[in-house]
């Protein structure tokens, strides 16, 4: 029953996408709005019903699988088109449809000046469908399908303004990096088939501990390959550089796909496959280290960004680093907790930034902002809540979730402590860059030459989602209070079958004190530099030219890839096309053709058209036959 409802949830956005896509003429905007928002909102309502039903059941009874039909049966490998409804997927669905509905509602106003109104909502619906498929899949095949389809949706929406070359290039980059991630997942699936002969979640997770040894080669390799997929999707080093470029898409897209839902799919996957990662301690260490590295590097890059959306993008990369690190260390519910709060506050920040951008007629540069708090009071308050949440100031949501992660890290041995310290430092950086953004946009003097357009406050369609998200970002952390209660951990317990890392109270105390003081320090420095004396920032910018250059170049990852991977590939292709093609392989066919041509030319010389020549040949042939007969006797 619950699973049937989940199929409807899955079908609704798809239906919305199909109806909008196949509509013969451009449908009226009102109809587009109804279909676009309605399909996601109704889906959210149904998910809420599912959630309430599951809540009423016993803990062990909260998971259901439903098979639509047998997708393929290869004799020794059978895959069904099936979904799995369990606490983890329901949590994801709640966020996807809930935040999704708010963002789609917001888009109705944000995109109203755009001529491709219908296409936008069709693609948004498609994304919601793909993301639901990703989290609902009951086997690795449909996980991969959903995984790739969200990549496609992301590609389409990043390249939404397809007449802008930069958007097209960013879309392509995102797509190709995602395909690299897909390949990682696919290889992991191959290994699973070879080792276990199945791709079904239930069977894999049941059989894996017995058939793949703890810390064995295949176990580590499977976990690492799965992580390649996660890293590509969740923007982890070294596959992170597509995510900031993805800000070429419209702002609601950035909020939904590149902040709240899709980019956290990697976290979901690690949590979903907690059995497999628990079998691979070394791979898990790699995951945790990668997360820590990413969260630090991304935080440093965010310090110098001038584009308001790129600040948020790098901050997203950094925050996902926290989740990945937590998941790598074994704090699965901690990772999911941060995913939840992050979905609230990052969506809030993006949507707030969207209102600012909308109010300034598309202007995204912090240099063209300043002093906006008098014009856009509501957004200012909402963004401030978001900044406080992400900076980890109690009692806002980010404080609880981030502290959970840092405290868990401290409980996870030597490596955990080291990574925890990195995370604390980055927490300070986070507070600094977020408030840098806030102060530069809303405080200080107005930009020289005035705004690009007089900032106008938004209507309710944009304000309501922002307000709602602000409330959630403020109180969302109360789901899990150290030494109090842990609603989320209890809820996820059936899905996380391995021992979840639980920090001790000492750890939590140390983590709270450290991170809050660091965060306050960061906010203070930001205030001193950007709000109290705006002139100071230019002075400091001049003093750190080299470091700033490195950070502005985003640690030069892109340049290295260009030189080390892309250009050699191009050269190889050119060499094959202009070098090998004309001579090498063409040589084979040419030699076959010319051999036969020259052979026939040589033979044709015998046919000289003179009767006596032919007669001579006849005589010669007869003589030869005679000789053969005589000698052969």
């Amino acid at each position: 029953m619950i699973a049937n409802l989940a199929w409807v949830v899955l079908a609704l956005p798809l239906l919305g996408c199909i109806v909008l896509g196949l509509f013969p003429n451009e449908p009226s905007r009102a109809l587009t709005r109804v279909i676009g928002v309605g399909s996601v909102a109704v889906a959210f309502g149904l998910v809420a019903v599912i959630f309430a039903t599951l809540l009423g059941r016993d803990t062990e009874d909260r998971s259901e699988t439903s098979v639509l039909w047998n997708w393929i049966d290869l004799g020794d490998l059978r895959v069904d088109l099936a979904i799995l409804v369990d606490p983890l997927s329901v949590l994801m669905m709640l966020v996807i449809t809930g935040v999704g509905a708010l963002i789609v509602l917001y888009s109705t106003e944000y995109m109203e000046h755009d001529r491709d109104y219908r296409r936008f909502f069709a693609e948004m619906d498609f994304f919601v469908f793909a993301m639901l498929l990703l989290v609902l899949a009951a086997n690795f095949v449909f996980l991969i399908v959903g995984w790739a389809l969200v990549g496609l949706a992301s590609y389409l929406l990043i390249g939404f303004y397809y007449d802008r070359p930069s958007a097209v290039a960013a879309a392509k980059k995102a797509f190709v990096v995602n395909v690299i991630g897909d390949v990682g997942l696919v290889l992991a699936a191959f290994l699973l088939v070879r080792e276990l002969g199945t791709l079904d979640y239930a069977q894999v997770f049941a059989a894996a501990p017995g058939q793949i040894g703890l810390g064995s080669g295949p176990a580590e390799l499977i976990a690492l390959l799965l992580f390649v997929g996660c890293a590509a999707k969740s923007g982890q080093i070294p596959l992170h550089s597509w995510l900031p470029d993805a800000m070429e898409g419209p702002t609601p897209v950035s909020a939904l796909i590149h902040a709240a839902t899709m980019v956290t799919a990697g976290v979901y996957l690690i949590v979903r496959c907690n059995v497999l990662f628990a079998l691979a301690p070394h791979a898990s260490d790699v995951v945790a280290i990668t997360g820590a590295l990413t969260l630090f590097v991304a935080a440093t890059i965010a310090l110098v960004q001038e584009d308001i959306k790129r600040v948020l993008a790098w901050s997203t990369v950094s925050q996902i680093g926290y989740m990945i690190m937590a998941a790598g260390l074994g704090a699965y519910s901690g990772a999911m907790f941060h995913f939840l709060t992050h979905a609230f506050f990052k969506a809030l920040l993006f949507l707030g930034a969207g209102i600012v951008i909308h109010a300034l007629a598309g202007q995204q540069s912090l240099n063209r902002m300043g002093g906006l708090r008098t014009h856009l009071k509501f957004v200012y308050v909402a963004m401030a809540v978001g900044c406080l949440a992400i900076a980890g100031v109690p009692p806002f949501s980010g404080f609880f979730s981030k502290d959970d992660i840092i405290a868990s890290a401290f409980a996870a041995g030597d490596l955990g402590v080291a990574l925890g310290i990195v995370a604390v430092i980055a927490a300070g950086l986070t507070a600094f860059y977020m408030f840098r953004m806030l102060f530069r946009a809303f405080w200080g003097p107005e930009p020289e030459g005035g705004y690009d357009q007089h900032p106008h406050p938004s209507r309710w369609t944009m304000s309501a989602p922002v307000g709602l998200l602000a409330v959630l970002a403020a109180v969302g952390g109360l789901l899990q209070i150290p030494a109090g209660w842990s609603v989320l951990r209890d809820w996820l317990e059936p899905a996380i079958t391995v021992a979840d890392l639980e920090p001790s109270h000492t750890n939590e105390l140390i983590a709270s004190v450290l991170s809050v003081s660091v965060a306050l320090l960061g906010i203070g420095v930001a205030y001193w530099m950007f709000a109290a004396g705006p002139a100071r920032r230019l002075a400091y910018a001049d003093r750190f030219v080299t470091v700033r250059g490195l950070l502005l170049d985003q640690w030069r990852f892109d340049q290295v890839y260009e030189a080390a991977v892309i250009q050699p590939g191009r050269d190889l292709g050119d060499a094959a096309l202009h070098g090998f093609e004309p001579s090498g392989s063409q040589g084979l066919v040419n030699s076959a053709t010319s051999l036969s041509a020259s052979a026939s030319r040589g033979l044709s010389r015998i046919e000289n058209g003179l009767v006596r020549g032919y007669v001579f040949a006849v005589v010669l042939g007869t003589a030869l036959v005679g000789i053969v007969i005589v000698l052969g006797r």
Partner: protein, 526 residues
């Protein structure tokens, strides 16, 4: 009813009926062609309906004596491997004929007649149950393609056809020798002189014989496929041919080589197949990487799709030569997928280049604004071509690689490079034409009613396979298990992976041949 023979005869008769059409009467020629092509499709539907999905062996056998003294017979049948290829051939040819009928067409009588002749040749090839018959159809389909490219082709058509024909002929002559050798050697082993493929199955050739014969056959198949490095007829022929013919070459004719490997190579010469397995896998891998790289840099749209086809066929060969049930089923599925997808891709390239006059990849830009529907269909086709999960090609490639990974993990790992590059080159094709500044007049290339007639069936089939691949695979499973089992035994695969029993030929209890050493139990012969 001899359904299979009828299936081959209908397009043949359609081609013959063109002689009855008065010269210059294009409409009548078109009607004849459409009727014949529709007839073939109707017969294919009958064949699907009558096909027993669980039987592994030949079905609907039609065996007529042809020249029984020399072991020749008109043997036509269908099994799980050929079933979908027949469907693909009939379907794609119908679309090709529809496309040719709609557009302007120079000398429609001859053109459509030759198309039907090619269809008959391919249908015959895919249903031939006799080696000589196989050879006859193999050569026969070359003739119509020779004229189609040579007369209606574009620049360089003369040289392209000459190369195409001579090069394929080299391979097929070697195959002819191998066919005769197979029959004669098999006679010495079994005491029965026959060219019947099903009766030659499991003949106990020595390892050397098996290796040499497989080598000779696979050379012909490799050229036809084409397999790297025998592919050089491909760029010229694909560039020179009219776009409909290019689509047919890529979608249907390229399957002939793969089909030969599965129909003749593996079941008849398992030891030779085992000997050549890794070399062929390596060539297929080189083809995948090489084709992808060249497609990325290819100057024209046709070449881009053409080289991508080289890479995709590499996947199919990989799946066959892995000797794994999963991989082989993926390969058969991928044959169908590739046929459908590449036909659609060439269809779109044809629409764009015909209406905008651009052949080069960067010849047009920004079409999406004026042609949103073309852009949508193009996107679907591009995604299917790069095997995005959720499309039909993904199913094929995924299972090819799962199976290959089980046997040769390194090969599957290298092949994934091709998946990444596929994304790069297909996006290059799609984005350059569709995206970018809205300068091009997209409305000119927007899909029109006849285009829908062509593209929608293809897209529908793609969707169907993506959602329910079991529909295709279910019919092929038993046949494929039976086909690859000998090769699996030769390659000493674990018994759990071999899903069919291998029958010895001659059977163990067969009577001794004259000249054989008499079995000890019978005592001395008088």
């Amino acid at each position: 009813m001899p359904w299979i023979s009828l299936l081959v005869l209908v397009p043949l008769l359609g081609a013959m009926s063109m002689f009855a059409v008065p010269e210059g009467n294009g409409t009548q020629a078109r009607i004849h062609a459409l009727v014949a092509a529709l007839g073939a499709v109707a017969l294919v539907v009958v064949v699907i309906a009558k096909f027993d999905r669980d039987a592994g062996g030949p079905q609907m056998v039609d065996r007529q004596s042809w020249a029984s003294e020399v072991g020749l017979s008109w043997t036509m049948w269908v099994d799980g491997i050929s079933l979908w290829l027949l469907v693909l051939t009939a379907g794609i040819f119908l679309l090709a004929i529809v496309a040719s009928c709609w557009g302007p067409c120079d000398r429609p009588r001859a053109y459509l007649g030759l198309l039907l002749l090619a269809e008959a040749g391919l249908l015959g090839l895919f249903s031939a149950g006799d080696l000589v018959l196989f050879y006859v159809f193999w050569e026969a389909m070359l003739v119509p393609f020779y004229f189609l490219i040579g007369i209606w082709g574009g620049r360089d058509r003369r040289q392209a056809t000459l190369q195409f024909v001579i090069y394929t002929m080299v391979g097929s002559l070697i195959m002819l020798v191998a066919i005769l050798a197979t029959a004669y050697i098999a006679r010495d082993v079994t005491g029965q002189f026959t060219f019947d493929i099903d009766q030659l199955r499991g003949v106990a050739f020595t390892k050397n014989q098996s290796t040499l014969l497989f080598g000779a056959f696979s050379l012909a198949f490799a050229i036809k496929l084409p397999l790297w490095p025998f592919h050089s007829w491909l760029p010229r022929a694909y560039s020179a041919a009219p776009i409909v013919v290019t689509a047919l070459l890529a979608a249907v004719m390229s399957k002939a080589g793969v089909y030969g490997l599965l129909r003749i190579g593996l079941p008849l010469f398992p030891e030779g197949a085992d000997y050549f397995a890794v070399p062929l896998i390596v060539l297929a891998l080189v083809g995948i990487v090489y084709g992808s790289l060249v497609a990325w840099r290819a100057p024209t749209m046709r070449l881009l799709v053409g080289y991508s086809s080289l890479a995709h066929l590499g996947f199919v060969v990989l799946g066959i030569m892995a000797f794994d049930t999963q991989a082989a089923q993926g390969a058969v599925l991928q044959m169908v997928n590739h046929g459908v997808v590449v036909a659609a891709a060439f269809g779109i390239v044809g629409i764009i280049s015909l209406r905008s006059g651009a052949e080069n990849v960067d010849g047009v830009r920004g079409l999406a604004a004026g042609a949103p529907r073309l852009a949508a269909v193009f996107l679907i086709v591009a995604m299917a071509s790069l095997a995005m999960p959720g499309t039909n090609s993904f199913v094929g490639e995924f299972f090819i690689l799962t199976g290959t990974f089980r046997q040769h993990a390194w090969a599957a790992a290298i092949a994934t490079i091709g998946i990444v590059y596929a994304a790069v080159y297909m996006l290059r094709l799609y984005q350059t034409a569709m995206n970018g500044p809205r300068e091009g007049d997209g409305r000119r290339v927007e899909l029109r009613a006849p285009d829908y007639l062509m593209m929608l069936p293809l897209v529908a089939v793609m969707g169907l396979i993506a959602l329910w691949p079991a529909g295709i695979v279910g019919a092929t499973t038993t046949t494929l298990n039976r086909t690859i089992a000998p090769a699996q035994v030769a390659a000493e695969r674990p018994a759990a992976q071999i899903l069919a029993t291998v029958v010895a030929n001659p059977p163990a209890n067969a009577l001794p041949l004259p000249g054989d050493p008499a079995p000890a139990t019978q005592g001395a012969t008088p």
